[in-house]
Symmetry: C2
Subunit: 339 residues, 2 copies
DNA sequence: TTGAAAGCGCTAACAG
DNA sequence: CTGTTAGCGCTTTCAA
């Protein structure tokens, strides 16, 4: 026989009190109005019955569902997404919140629909995540709900957001090379028009021009930021008369192509060529031989920060928006040697 | 001024009808009792006001929240998880459902807590996902809620589940090799005690012993199913007096190591050695040179199947449990050549 | 220190 | 064809 789950009424009856008293005893609300002996009786009854509150009913009353909406454009599809979700998830769960997920293709209409679907469910706040550090417009629908942007930001900084400190990460891996005595540092990148490309490229350019080198001579790009693109660009770069002694790659996948190009040209890494990169993808950077030194994208930390910040803002709806830069730690491996 | 969102009462008033009529007009319930002219008026009023139903209130009344719980043990952390989540997500969303996610470490107590947290939120059903095709016990808490297992199953088949057809996938890649005339097919695998290892290994063993070959001579394993393990095992295997003409790898990561070993030994792929593998990881199989032929784990399809099946079972709670095997399609690339 | 009662926004009998 | 009314299970006044 399917016994229905116990309700507050059942607990109250079992403890011989009213539902009001039971509610307050269970939630610790109502200040001192509950006698400690009464509270114990209620708690015992609840435990005895295996009582679990119906949060839907509670939510209707309190207007708090203890759910956060997580809207991701293509988030579940990308290899980084997991860590971002997990970071948000862990922080939320610690505070008694759960994540209600919607994945979209990034189409604005679809995102708007996703937000509406979440709002219908009365989520308390929204985490709006994109991939690869984009600059976006926040959909109008969202205005009535607290929101934090994850791995993206608005142009005007009017919405709280967290993005990786790409410049800091690039400076970090370049410093690794500089410390090993490298000056002629090449850059292999994608031609795709993404924020990450610009920041990493600009940072590198400043770095090498500071040595008085001609950046254009040390630069090669490919239409696509994947292995083959990295291979092609590296081939072009490494065949030039004065080849670089080190290469800073846009990302690990391109670095994989650089490794292949070096092998074909008979250059050993790191003996003849040092390589550093960005992203620190777990399926690539540590698996290459030698292990690849790479600046890590702090997805877990960004997710966690965003959720905590959102939670904080639920209680302080009028707090000023904040733009947060999350540091990108350097994963040091064996792809760098003295020049 | 923060105007509160319109409620059903507002729509009803604007349309000059009762909330009952408004509700039925909006939901299309109540058969023919709503006049078409009345319905239009209600719909127009709702659109005008931008009415969105409060699904918390609705859920309290109907006992249906249109949310599915997704419990994953370590799911967000693994590279496959995304596709599984996305498959479940898309199928759910198509039916007007959203996914409420909880990630766990796989610890049974924690999983139990996760299920309870989901049940408090009155989710309509639960998707219980593990990674890597495990055989598990279903937590007792779940008994009162419809559930479908994703990439795992119970020993007794008492719970509906979907797992990849590992045997079929292994037969598929072995057939690729056989069609190219290979007989001496080696196997490089992990020593980790997982279901996938056993099925892939057994299938391979049957295949080569059917040719009258000694499987032990063609077999090499490493403690860990990663690149270095694949490299070590392949080195041992390829240095034997009569080396295999092809290798079936436990997974793509080990295959990556096999590629490296072949390169070091001066063996070209696929000229001197054909290679096939399992998993078809997007970051590896297509990125290797030459592209790796691999049996794909159908994570998206499993997620989608599981969600649809769960949805179906919400309406037919007494349907018999089903064990579903999802085919593993072969991704053909350039790592196989005639023997 | 406690109980009675109202009500969150919606749906579904029931009555017309 | 439509309106009135009674809850869903909880929290929170208000009154004692």
């Amino acid at each position: 026989m399917a016994t229905r789950p116990p309700r507050l009424t059942d607990v109250a009856r079992a403890a011989g009190v009213s539902t009001a008293t039971a509610s307050m005893a269970l939630n610790g609300t109502g200040g001192n109005r509950i006698g400690s002996e009464t509270r114990d009786r209620v708690l015992a009854a609840a435990a005895e019955l295996g009582y679990r509150p119906n949060t839907v009913a509670r939510g209707l009353r309190t207007r708090r569902t203890h759910m956060l909406g997580f809207v991701g454009d293509n988030v579940a599809t990308t290899p980084f997404a997991g860590q971002m979700i997990r970071g948000a998830h862990d922080a939320a769960r610690e505070a008694g919140f759960l994540l209600l997920m919607v994945d979209t293709t990034g189409d604005p209409d679809e995102t708007g629909e996703a937000i509406a679907a979440l709002q219908e469910r009365q989520i308390d706040g929204i985490l709006l995540a994109t991939m690869y550090h984009q600059v976006i417009d926040v959909p109008a629908e969202i205005k009535s709900t607290p929101v934090v942007l994850l791995d993206s930001r608005t142009a005007d900084g009017s919405v709280t957001s967290v993005v990786p400190d790409e410049r800091g990460g690039a400076l970090g891996v370049l410093a690794e090379l500089a410390a090993a005595g490298h000056r002629r540092i090449g850059h292999v990148t994608t031609a795709e028009d993404v924020e990450a490309r610009h920041i990493r490229l600009t940072t590198w350019r400043e770095h090498v021009t500071a040595y008085g080198l001609d950046a254009d001579e040390l630069f090669a790009e490919s239409p696509e930021g994947r292995t083959h693109g990295g291979y092609d660009a590296a081939m072009r770069l490494l065949r030039r008369p004065e080849r670089p002694t080190a290469i800073f790659c846009f990302n690990d996948r391109m670095a994989m192509g650089v490794y292949r190009a070096a092998a074909e040209l008979g250059l050993s890494i790191p003996g003849d060529l040092s390589v550093v990169s960005y992203d620190d993808q777990e399926l690539i950077a540590p698996e290459l031989a030698p292990g690849l030194t790479s600046a890590a994208l702090p997805h877990y930390e960004m997710g966690s920060w965003a959720a905590k910040e959102l939670l904080r803002r639920l209680d302080e709806p009028d707090a000023e928006p904040v733009q947060h830069l999350m540091p990108c730690p350097i994963a040091r491996r064996d792809s760098v040697a003295p020049a």
